[in-house]
Symmetry: C2
Subunit: 361 residues, 2 copies
């Protein structure tokens, strides 16, 4: 199936802006008359340093990263940060973890290796269909930080407020970064695997308050030490150059579209279309509670597993790919990240309506 016949609703890695891919394609063998691909450049060259600096500058501008915070471009994905965060920030003490889904649970499990983990909330009793309110959060007086995951890709829920805590906020924004405004100054640490809203897989962005660095124990693996990575501006060793280049192109694309306000408007428009079908249907059952709905990942079921499977197969046959729910969650999931054209939301909405008419009993 050709590219113009396909919409890719994968939860990550996921669709990238077509204009970004075309630019990368056109420059692939020869970046700006250098005679080299970005994949072939020394990371110590002025040429690559320019790409690297521009990427950081674009991110800094787009989400207004204050000078109090440092931007790191790392490897290893969010799962590496599940360990790096407690190693760097816990000092063997305690932290509060809000468990609202699969990945925040894994983060909490990993942190237990390095100190005391207190569950500020745990929504597993209702299969993570909700985000707790501020008053429901249990907060410890001695917490080194409060950890949460802003958007739960597997459950399809999203925090629509910033928790008020005495401890520094640490937030996994892997699946909704750049899709809505964020006041970076309120966070001790923000991180995001890049493969949903920002770049191809293999890059992790960490934004951290400089006052938090330098607390890691001596046995910290060098590559997991925030202090070391800050000191070397993320280039202690060879960074994932191509991924950083694509990251920069995506950031430029977001700027061209009108920045974060435009992304916020578009995500509301796209997700709104799909939720509208769910709200007007007795066929589909949405997973997330209304007040906790994600703008990035819409999760739902049809009446039966057989119909879920039929939905997935029929959608794929029409070029609407990757709408299967996460393995632990089942059902269906439509991911609508920044790079998803509005036409992609229209297409899945129309298909959902059609499928309901055909299969409703």
């Amino acid at each position: 199936m050709s590219r113009d016949k396909v919409f890719n609703y994968a939860a990550g890695p996921s669709v990238l802006p077509e204009s970004v891919l075309r630019k990368a394609q056109s420059e692939l063998l020869d970046y700006h008359g250098s005679g080299m691909s970005v994949m072939e450049m020394s990371h110590r060259s002025k040429l690559f340093q320019g790409i690297f600096d521009e990427a950081k500058a674009r991110l800094k501008e787009l989400i207004a990263v204050p000078d109090s915070h440092e931007i790191l471009l790392l490897q290893g994905g969010a799962t590496t940060q599940f360990a790096a965060i407690p190693i760097n920030l816990l000092e063997g003490g305690a932290a509060d973890y809000a468990v609202t889904g699969h990945f925040s649970n894994r983060a909490a499990e990993e942190a237990k290796k390095y100190g005391t983990v207190r569950l500020s909330c745990d929504t597993s009793d209702t299969n993570h269909d909700r985000i707790p309110t501020q008053s429901e959060l249990k907060l410890s007086a001695d917490a080194k930080y409060f950890y949460y995951c802003a958007n739960n890709t597997t459950a399809g829920t999203e925090w629509h407020y910033v928790p008020k805590t005495a401890a520094p906020l640490v937030c996994d924004m892997s699946s909704d970064i750049l899709s809505c405004p964020v006041d970076v100054s309120r966070y001790g640490l923000i991180y995001a695997g890049a493969q949903k809203n920002m770049a191809p897989a293999g890059l992790t962005v960490v934004i951290l308050d400089k006052s938090l660095i330098g607390r890691e124990p001596e046995w910290t693996p060098t590559m997991l030490s925030y202090q070391t990575m800050v000191k070397h501006d993320s280039m202690l060793n060879t960074p994932p150059c191509w991924n950083i280049y694509l990251f920069s192109l995506v950031l430029a694309w977001v700027q061209e579209q009108g920045g974060i306000p435009a992304m916020e408007q578009l995500r509301a428009e796209r997700a709104g279309m799909v939720y509208e079908v769910l709200d007007n249907s007795s066929f589909y059952k949405p997973h997330a509670r209304r007040d906790s709905r994600s703008f990035m990942n819409v999760t739902f079921h049809t009446p039966t597993k057989e119909l879920d499977a039929a939905f997935i197969a029929e959608a794929a046959a029409r070029g609407m790919l990757n709408v299967k729910g996460y393995k632990t969650q089942g059902g269906l999931r439509v991911s609508l990240y920044n790079a998803m054209p509005v036409e992609g939301a229209v297409a899945i909405r129309d298909f959902m309506k059609e499928f309901e008419v055909a299969h409703h009993v």
Copy 2:
């Protein structure tokens, strides 16, 4: 300068085969009629699993990885392995480290965090211009492993024998993997950052004897646990998909060229041309001793720093890029990895002769 006017002698990231780049370019927006870029694919899709499995199968075939050994495709570069290796294999005990250059020294320093490091050799007294002989190596009876770096990118030296040790061999082959035959069965662990001979930066290949897994302590960061990564076939989390795809394309290219024997012949031909100039010159001074010379990185000086700088500038003006020596080493370095065409060796050889004639006093 256009691509056909340039030779890139960078030490890594470095030149990739042009046919590989052209294939990646042609498939960039639509991989095999999927309507998606490899950068957009779910890593859990059959399509990506096919790419992943093919990459592993090609490597297994090319260097005959026995069934006793597992292939891991990881993130974080060699520097992450500097920590992962002792964390996974040292069990708080001792290991022998052969320090023959910048990176083996860094590996030894990192390992000290996790146990006792015994220097089997240390060639820093002569600025790492040599590889010790077997009889010069000090070997401890209680070593959990013997660590060495097969090719020293910064010094321009290479081990031309496999050390005989009672302890399992652990080897950093970042800069000469796939350039010459290797008997994998003799190694406990082989690893290589991919950005020199194999793929764009952001991928690290680890090949390890399965009998060595499962020794890491409980506090091991999950992403650094070989046991966990083996269990999840390197996909505990999202792998660097694009890098793995390019890796597979490069492996196919090596196969097409005639495999490792062809690579070995070519490396001898390329490096031979440059060493011949050095051996017939009273102007250039080679850094490495004759018996320890690297086939990948040729290191040398002109009579003065000023002439070194002039060499670099004049070479660059003619499209011969990145011949500056490593920052701690100074002088000049010509890297001639697998993807460097023989014409690239001819070009730098001819330029060296010309430069000598012009500047010799």
